[in-house]
């Protein structure tokens, strides 16, 4: 009976997982205001400082090795928190972009497509940066790379969201 039990458990787990995914799917995407609030909530300047190689070099030259490792570990864990938040923002932007894509206005729909594609790219970069920061936090003596492409992509994504807001507002005013 054991092998059959194993298959039944597998089937039950799969069916439950699928049902759960279906039930959790129905959530409304954020609106433009929430998207802006999310952008405001992230202190990107502070994040940049945390992963700045020059800052790291300065700390390394001014602190004793042991203290540097402690501080560097803390910096990397904090940066990891920022990356997690950025990943969350990317997910929200992606859902927002997907919703805007459904717009009947072709300009808005195209903008929505760009926002969605950019957000998915941002999410990918955030996951990569997260993995690197995790390694760097575990082994603080290893030199880390600044996730420049992550910052660039975030800039692009926020610009697109802002443009979307502007377009929406101008349409509203024209109407």
């Amino acid at each position: 009976m054991t092998p059959i039990f194993l298959y039944l458990v597998l089937a039950l787990v799969a069916a439950s997982a699928l049902t759960l995914l279906a039930l959790r799917r129905r959530h409304a995407p954020i609106g433009i205001e929430q998207a802006r609030a999310l952008m405001d909530s992230l202190d990107m300047e502070a994040f940049r400082n945390l992963v700045d190689p020059q800052e790291e070099a300065f700390l390394q030259s001014s602190l004793p090795a042991r203290q540097f490792r402690i501080i560097q570990r803390e910096r990397n864990w904090t940066a990891l928190c920022y990356v997690k938040s950025l990943g969350h923002v990317a997910l929200e932007f992606s859902h927002f972009g997907h919703a805007v894509r459904q717009s009947t206005d072709p300009r808005l729909a195209e903008l929505g497509r760009q926002i969605e594609a950019g957000a998915i790219q941002l999410r990918l970069l955030a996951l990569q940066a997260g993995a690197r920061l995790f390694v760097a936090a575990t082994f603080p003596h290893l030199a880390q790379r600044c996730p420049r492409s992550l910052f660039d992509q975030y800039e692009r994504s926020t610009r697109l969201v802002i443009r979307c807001g502007i377009l929406e507002r101008s349409q509203k005013q024209a109407a």
Partner: protein, 258 residues
């Protein structure tokens, strides 16, 4: 065979296919065959298969071993088409996603290899008691296929969720329907491998058709009801109540973008 069982069996056999016919016509009307040719082909194939098998069954010819062979052949074609539909869903979901699409292709390949290995290992080490009959062989194969299909669909959902790739309502519905169908088939084929009493075997006959019914209802539901939630009114009246800071920021950016 009690009367209620007979009616229930007939209902579960006929009703999903009648609904599927409605779905197939809807897909044609909406011209979704351009986006999902494999799924449209699958629905029409399932209807044709039902008509043939049902006609044979009610004419009383469906008692010989050739009927079982015919059933297994049609099931094999149906299973192959399901793989086609799963591939089609993947292509559709990740077609515009650039680097994520490339990553998805690689991940899909490795996931398929992993699932095949799991299917083979399960077949080797957890085969259960079975006779060397045709149905036992089909059950052995069916379990492996159900594991692979179910795993692929779960992978699709989890991967798209991880990267925030939104699935359109009907794409989600199609994938969910196939996922439920695969998990029910896994349970069904697993139970087929055991020694069952006659009453238990009869009850078990209802399981795949009931699972199929649920899948068809899911396909219909997600195609007919627009589940995609629209954004909360972009720049509505609420949007005018911006905080001075954001408003000023926007004005500056507006000037910058012009």
């Amino acid at each position: 065979m009690t009367l209620w069982y007979k009616y229930l069996l007939l209902y579960l056999w006929i009703a999903p296919h009648v609904l599927l016919l409605g779905l197939a016509i809807f897909l044609l009307n909406r011209r979704l065959f351009k986006q999902f040719p494999a799924f449209v082909l699958y629905t029409w194939y399932e209807i044709a298969e039902f008509v043939v098998l049902f006609a044979i069954a009610i004419s009383g010819l469906g008692r010989g071993p050739w009927y079982l062979r015919l059933y297994l052949v049609t099931l094999a074609i149906s299973t192959a088409l399901r793989f086609g539909v799963i591939q089609e869903i993947f292509n559709h979901v990740f077609r515009e996603q650039g680097p994520v699409a490339a990553l998805a292709r690689v991940a899909l390949r490795w996931t398929t290899i992993f699932l095949l290995a799991v299917g083979v290992l399960c077949a080797l080490f957890a085969s259960g008691h079975s006779t060397a009959s045709l149905i036992a062989g089909a059950s052995w194969l069916g379990r492996g296929i159900a594991i692979v299909q179910c795993g692929l669909l779960l992978f699709l959902f989890l991967f798209s969720r991880l990267f925030g790739v939104s699935l359109q309502s009907y794409v989600f519905g199609i994938a969910l329907g196939f996922g439920i169908l695969s998990s029910v088939e896994l349970a069904n084929w697993a139970l087929h491998a055991s020694d069952l009493s006659e009453s238990m075997a009869r009850t078990l006959n209802l399981l795949p058709t009931a699972g199929y019914h649920v899948a068809v209802l899911l396909w219909l539901g997600y195609l007919l009801v627009p589940v995609i939630t629209r954004p909360r009114q972009l720049a509505t009246a609420d949007g005018l109540n911006l905080s001075p800071h954001i408003d000023l920021w926007n004005q500056e950016l507006e000037r910058f973008l012009q």
